[in-house]
Subunit: 216 residues, 2 copies
């Protein structure tokens, strides 16, 4: 889980066909790992799904653990790309938070994300670094972005709080409630865009209410 070698550093030749195969293997590995977990996934199944021979998998990836780690890294990278707390300087805090909350709901409720979280946590015992990595590239970053945003708002006097980081966490807690938990255990919750907007609004309103009193 250290430096992110895309594979085995064999990339001297760098043929497009190989690149395609490698991508295919990663995709197949993702699907298998995120469905069956690390232990219950076989390299052979991954090779089969990628329509590639087992040897090819081992040509590009050191071993099973390494392949899993690379899949997680790729997933984290995509995470960062697709979910950003934007700092729209021209909008007021309420609107920014509304957008962030909706994005949060949409992003974290995707079946894909739910499956990812289901599997990943279970591997923390086997390899604690994988948990650290995920936290650093996911929740911590996002919470950090949010905290920065709130700090600006505090400076501008839009909100009042003694513990910005805690307030950011409260925001996330208000938006998600226990929904991520329910989803993780298979509850079938589907929110339409409109329902997400409503839920987000409720959380934002509540949060703003809390943070416009100076007795907190």
């Amino acid at each position: 889980m250290a430096a992110a070698e895309t594979s085995k550093l064999h990339m001297q030749a760098d043929r497009p066909a190989s690149r395609r195969k490698i991508a295919g293997i990663l995709a197949a590995a993702r699907a298998e790992f995120f469905t069956n977990g690390f232990s219950a996934t076989s390299i052979e199944a991954i090779a089969a799904r990628a329509e590639v021979s087992k040897v090819t998998v081992y040509t590009w990836f050191k071993d099973k653990e390494n392949l899993f780690a690379e899949v997680v890294q790729a997933e984290c990278a995509e995470m960062r790309e697709n979910f950003v707390v934007e700092n729209l300087a021209d909008k007021n805090l309420g609107d920014i938070l509304q957008i962030a909350a909706q994005g949060m709901l949409e992003f974290l409720m995707r079946e894909e994300m739910v499956r990812f979280e289901r599997i990943l946590a279970a591997e923390v015992n086997r390899d604690p670094k994988i948990g650290e990595f995920f936290l650093d590239h996911g929740p911590r970053t996002l919470l950090g972005d949010l905290t920065n945003l709130l700090e600006l708002a505090v400076d501008k006097g839009e909100i009042v709080t003694a513990d910005v980081r805690g307030s950011a966490e409260m925001f996330a807690g208000l938006v998600m409630g226990r929904m991520d938990l329910f989803l993780r255990y298979g509850a079938k919750i589907r929110l339409s865009a409109q329902e997400r907007e409503q839920r987000a609004r409720r959380a934002v309103d509540a949060w703003m209410l809390i943070h416009q009193h100076n007795d907190m």
Copy 2:
């Protein structure tokens, strides 16, 4: 995950020594499963830990899946025993919620619970019923208790809310924030009793503030 046969219904003889062994197997299975997950745990390792022969395991438990299911059931049962939202009729809502919030923090932050949640979610793909079972005997029950409590408070005019269930979820969200997530991925967070009290108070205060306005 249907009817909770304690084992294989062989309990005709019902010897105390056997009961002890069965309990030992369950304890060992719990330890192994919650450390390594379902797939990576071997019946042999369980037998060894329980200081029992493999055959004895199969004497009392049908197979690996069944044993896992029984472990989960036992854990859920213990969960219900150890975490109740008490309806203390003589106290005011704020105090009750304060106690509930502290209990929630203490209960959900235990290393044991964290490990349990880490592993269990990963098995939802393999056996969705296990997720349903956990939800029914854990989160849903607790949230239900909390909802009932709040409904009473609404009737008494202590709080205002259009969506009691949603308010209960908000409460849980405010108390936990993203802490359960961070713990699941290995973040080392330890709260003293005093810190738990503070965090709980902050959440309760915020929640009460939200629910004493009728513009929600």
